[in-house]
Amino acid sequence: MIIRTLCRRGFFQEAVATTPAKRIAPQFSRQIHGTPRLNEQVGIHRVPKLNEHESLVQNGVPGLLSAQGYKTAWSDYMEYLTYEMNVAVSGKEYQHQTPEKLLIECARDPQRAYLFNLASMAWNNHFFFKGISGVNAKPKPSQPSSDLLQLINHDFSSMDTLREDFLATAEAMFGPGFVWLVQVNNHIRILPTYNAGSPLAGAHYRRQSVDMNTQNTSPVNSAGSFGDSSEVQKGKPKAPFGGVDVTPLLCVNTWEHVWTTDYVPQYGFLHGKRAYLEKWWDKINWDVAGHLAKVSKSANGAQKNRFV
């Protein structure tokens, strides 16, 4: 009777199905076993390890996410992304490419739009958690360095204004996305990207910085709008083909699965998100942002040529 009960609950089936096929590529294991386990990390892509991994798993991000929230936002979601990426790239010539190069390549290839989404989400999410890292031990929120502060004051007139603009932009976005603080030609800018859009220079085809449902003011017919003789181009200096050369400094992940575990809206949907955004602002690691700003500024900065 006990055996029958276990059978009915599918216990034995699960036990049989979970014997891992060690050397079989993920797409084949799916055919054999039906639903392979998600946490089999035998593929080329693996979930990256964050610096304070153990304490994050136990306590979450103190002041922003609980342990369960961290699990949903990082552990489970990155596992899903890496699994899907392994399935998508295995056996292909680009199977060993890093997500950054992959997303730039796939941004202009509509056939691989899904792979772009996966790579871009993985990159964005890792960047987001990197930007709030290293602050678990510190009770006070960190402050930007003087160089970065100077840039911010020049473009946004003060830190408070930047905060207001940034959080307002993030709040106004409907649905999933990211909001970035980027550096462009020694200026600091706010850049929203919807869904899995990327701020990187080469992936501008999929920047997705506008909500297509509401901001559709661009002309439908664009014939004659490009080229040396067109009205649009007359008098304009020739810009390099391609996207803007941006360096992302920090970002906030506004996808719902990241904050709905911990920020239950009490008076309406926006309040939960607003509370999350305000708490996130206090968790920003400005050292990371400052370092990236410095890296992108230094033109001659004694860069070692790794290929000599």
Binding site: V47, T98, E100, K130, A239, V295, G301
Partner: protein, 415 residues
């Protein structure tokens, strides 16, 4: 643009309601389109005015505008090199975010950053297919000691043996290089060029990836006699003033030859053997191990295996030459200087030349505290006949004499 950024702050619903209004004109098609366009324009302007009036301190959010962000000034103010370095710096910070890539084979690393003797592991050799020999019917029984077994009709070379022999060969290359010897890397099969060149670069040696010209050693004066040679000091800096003496010296010979495909280079290996030049060779199961002094039993048909072996030996040579130069910095010279070279003298002191010459020779032979010049490197030199140049005919006679002298021939006559 202006509308978009302002509306961002104020909410989109307010705009959406009033934006499109139905047309009211009933004139001809062209007129209607034109007037409708005018209407829309007026509506846009009024809307803009309304919103701008409603929002007193509506400063637009600083957002990315691709048209203005990349102006020609900003784009070309930086040089291409600066842009590239900035790109590379960003890549090093942000390039590996997203996922961790499992370790995998990257072909370029074997050539750009080859492994060193310390990195030689059985796993590396196995992955480089060093264990794969030829069909069992094609074997040379002299290689029996290197063979582990048979699988799928081919002989499998024992990787432990390969590793041991490779380490020994690396030690030989390192020591020869440390003592300032000429190391020649030879790989004449297609695809071996880059490996051979890289190994020679690392060890400050020489490379050959085209056909070995028979007689380059045994008939060296004929084939290589017109090649440029130079005299360098212990720090590898060229020393001027020896041009006359170099003119009538015998051709240089390598002190060690590393051959990556001995089966195609029998003549080279035979010449080396005749002239007591040690050789290292990659010996497959069908090759003859007696052709070389230090065999490395491995797969010579796999480019990856050849790149690993050439890389390891190149790194060993690099280590040796670094040791040599480090010792030279401290004043310790790790090699005997070239024979029969005298210091370039002043023209006025020609009268005292013979006496000075013997003194110089004595100093040369003393070694450590003497002048540290050596020909790069000539350890087997001919006996120098003391002739001074009077005219071109004398030069011709002197050359013939030197070339045809019996000591130039290294083959010992066995009676």
């Amino acid at each position: 643009m202006i509308i978009r950024s302002v509306v961002w702050r104020q909410g989109r619903r307010a705009v959406a309601q009033k934006f499109w209004q139905p047309l009211r004109t009933f004139s001809s098609a062209v007129d209607s389109i034109d007037s409708s366009a005018q209407n829309s324009l007026k509506q846009l302007h009024s809307l803009e005015a309304q919103i701008n009036a409603a929002a007193p301190t509506a400063t637009p959010v600083a957002s990315i505008d691709p048209e203005t962000a990349t102006t020609a000034q900003s784009a070309v103010s930086e040089s291409l090199a600066d842009q590239y370095h900035r790109f590379k710096a960003r890549e090093s910070e942000l390039g590996d975010l997203g996922t961790e890539i499992s370790p995998h084979y990257q072909p370029n690393t074997l050539l750009n950053n080859p492994p060193s003797p310390a990195d030689v592991t059985l796993e590396l050799l196995l992955a480089s297919e060093a264990h794969q020999g030829h069909a069992t019917s094609l074997w040379n029984p002299a290689n029996a000691r290197y063979i582990h077994g048979i699988r799928q009709g081919i002989h499998i070379i024992s990787l432990e043996t390969t590793a041991a022999h490779l380490r020994r060969a690396a030690k030989v290359v390192q020591e020869v290089s440390r003592r300032g010897g000429i190391v020649l890397f030879v790989g004449t099969r297609p695809g071996q060029e880059r490996a051979v060149v890289k190994a020679a670069e690392l060890s400050k040696g020489y490379h050959l990836f085209e056909r070995w010209i028979p007689g380059s050693i045994t008939n060296g004066q004929q084939i290589l006699g017109r090649c440029k040679t130079k005299v360098v000091n212990e720090k590898d800096e060229e020393v001027q003033g020896f041009e006359e003496q170099l003119f009538d010296r015998a051709a240089l010979r390598p002190d060690l030859v590393v051959c990556l495909n001995p089966l195609e280079n029998y003549v080279l290996l035979h010449e080396c053997a005749l002239n007591n030049i040690p050789t290292i060779g990659v010996i497959d199961t069908n090759a003859d191990p007696t052709w070389v002094t230090y065999p490395i039993p491995a797969n010579d048909d796999s480019l990856r295996c050849i790149q690993v072996i050439a890389g390891v030996l190149g790194r060993a040579g690099e280590q040796g030459s670094k040791q040599r130069l480090a010792a030279a910095e401290k004043g310790v010279i790790t090699f005997p200087p070239a024979r029969n070279l005298r210091l370039p003298e002043e023209p006025e002191a020609e009268a005292e030349a013979p006496k000075r010459e013997s003194e110089a020779l004595g100093r040369l032979l003393d070694g450590a505290e003497a002048i540290s010049s050596h020909i790069k490197p000539e350890l087997f030199s001919t006996s120098k006949s003391d002739h001074s140049l009077h005219n071109a005919d004398d030069l011709g006679d002197m050359l013939d004499e030197t070339n045809n002298h019996e000591t130039n021939r290294r083959i010992k006559q066995v009676v």
